[in-house]
């Protein structure tokens, strides 16, 4: 009943979703074309461009680099971002608004400005074209996402839980790992997913940092688009869509059984 009454709203939502999704989803059928040009609708069906993707070391290495850097960034940004969020929520120190603002800066400052700044400094430090350089730069960009996600779940956390743990003899570290972290885990998980996705499809900063030996998948794709337009790039795009979708969906699936369980037995 209620749903029927707000159906105009549902139509709008569906339209917005279409506008957002269709361009992305277009590349998937394109990647299965048997033709040799990048076109829609695809001609025939074949896996030749996937074969090309995985058999060409340049593409394959780019994918592995992206996955490896993405995982490192996920770990580092999640740990640092969660620690920052926790610290900022627990301190009354003056200037914490400033510290929070600095954490958020990479999200507000235009990407290209961040990229140029990082490039200038990393050149001097010899970090361009290194895994460490990519990881540091991507952590910088991913940190705001983790900070926001974890801060949000900390706001909903009952401080009394930590007091209870302390009264039972748990020191602050034990309290954090046995009580606080399990309670804010959904926020930490979604922060981690955002961190991975941020790194995995980051292109602007990566374009500056790449070297002939080390480049990430989005950079390789950028090259492919500007130099040679063949449907391998559609295969690569499809893979990126699939990988990021999996990264987003897995935590949702992991969380669901627990929730439905507690609700059904309530």
């Amino acid at each position: 009943m209620v749903l029927r009454r707000i159906s105009p709203l549902r139509i709008v939502v569906a339209l917005v979703a279409l506008v957002l999704l269709v361009p992305t989803l277009m590349v998937i059928p394109m990647s299965f074309t048997s033709g040799s040009t990048f076109e829609f609708p695809p001609k025939g069906f074949s896996l030749r461009w996937y074969d090309n993707f995985f058999s060409d070391p340049a593409w394959r290495d780019a994918l592995l680099n992206s996955l490896w850097i993405g995982l490192l960034v996920t770990v580092v940004a999640t740990v640092l971002g969660a620690a920052s969020a926790y610290g900022l929520s627990r301190t009354r120190a003056r200037g914490r608004a400033v510290v929070r603002g600095l954490h958020m800066a990479p999200q507000i400052v235009p990407n290209i400005v961040v990229a140029v700044a990082i490039y200038a400094i990393f050149l001097r430090w010899g970090l361009t074209g290194t895994t460490l350089g990519f990881v540091l730069a991507h952590v910088c960009l991913a940190l705001p996402f983790v900070l926001v996600a974890v801060t949000t779940s900390l706001v909903g956390l009952d401080r009394r839980l930590e007091h209870a743990a302390a009264s039972l003899g748990a020191n602050p570290w034990q309290t954090f790992f046995r009580v606080t972290l399990p309670a804010i885990r959904p926020g930490v998980l979604s922060g981690a997913v955002f961190a991975f996705a941020t790194s995995f499809d980051e292109v602007v900063v990566s374009l500056f940092l790449r070297s002939p030996e080390l480049q990430t998948l989005p950079v390789k794709m950028f090259d492919a688009v500007t130099v040679e337009i063949d449907p391998t790039i559609a295969a690569a795009s499809s893979l990126i869509v699939v990988v990021t979708t999996i990264a987003v969906v897995i935590p949702v699936l992991l969380r669901r059984p627990e929730k439905s369980n507690s609700e059904s037995t309530r």
Partner: protein, 375 residues
Amino acid sequence: MSITQTGHGIRLAGLSKRFGRDDEPAVDDVSLDIAPGEFMTFLGPSGSGKSTTLNLIAGFTEATSGRVEIDGADVTPLPPHRRRLGVVFQFYALFPHMTAARNVAFGLRYHNVPKREVGDRVARALRLVRMERYADRLPSQLSGGQQQRVALARAIVCEPRAILLDEPLGALDKRLREELQVEIARMHRDLGTTFVFVTHDQDEALRLSSRIAVFNAGKVEQLGTPDQLYDHPRTLFIAEFLGESNCFHGRLDAAGRLDTGWAKLRASVEPIGPRDVALIVRPEALRLGDLVRDGDNVVEADVVSTSFAGRDLRVELRYADGRPGLALLAHGETAPQPGARVRIGWDPQRQAQVPAEPQPPAAAADAAPAAAAVV
């Protein structure tokens, strides 16, 4: 091995807490002794400093000045996890991702309890609060009363030196509250542990406590046993906060007679005390009509209404100065007619004499140490 343990004494010495530099102190120079095994209640309206004082004892809040001592040792610099105190919170604060049994077991690993004893200790604690059947439930699958029972088990299982309860029954309905009051009283009796209980519910305080510290504006206004507080309130605040009362305001002369403007009453001579005083008379001390005896203080009052309250007859009164009053008559006495004017009397021994007006801050500061010194 049993969970029974002996109590430990807690002493607060000049304890103060100021949250902001320019704020009024939330806790203002509180000194009191809690005897080993005692059931001490902090009673007061919200914002009176009773919960903050409890948090200072637990170590959740850092004192601005003063000391907390347990068994004579200063624990003020110790973080909460090293004070060995059990705490029970108003909203249970059970760990939501752990079953009842795992909640109870939580602290045992920090108290050097051998692994093979853990199950046994947990089972015994859950049995003590009659929750053994719910050991494998998550907090979200338990009612409020059940959650608070688990929280009690969790607090006692580590054999803390004292158990601090911060309005533990505040979130429960009346029936459950009374049920758990009985349980808490039983646990206190069985364990012999020192209990410090915070509440704003005077009935709860009167029912459970060995002694009550009544908090007002960050200070302990009076400390005493429930009947001391009820029969001998030291201030108007105590008289009005604890139980119901009849108040007669007036001026005291040098001979100890109180002139209310509409009646003359016998009171006590106060050598240096204030001249404006109030007499407090509890409703069950009042006698009506023919039952008034020689030597009673006597006034007249209008009967507003009468009603039965269980075994007593409640007679709502209005005195000549317009103030309301209340008499509780034993079952069987004849009820006066509403609208009638009756004679009211009471034995002057059963009246309490208190300063009439809320005192200015300077005077109040002098009065508080006197109240705390009753310890």
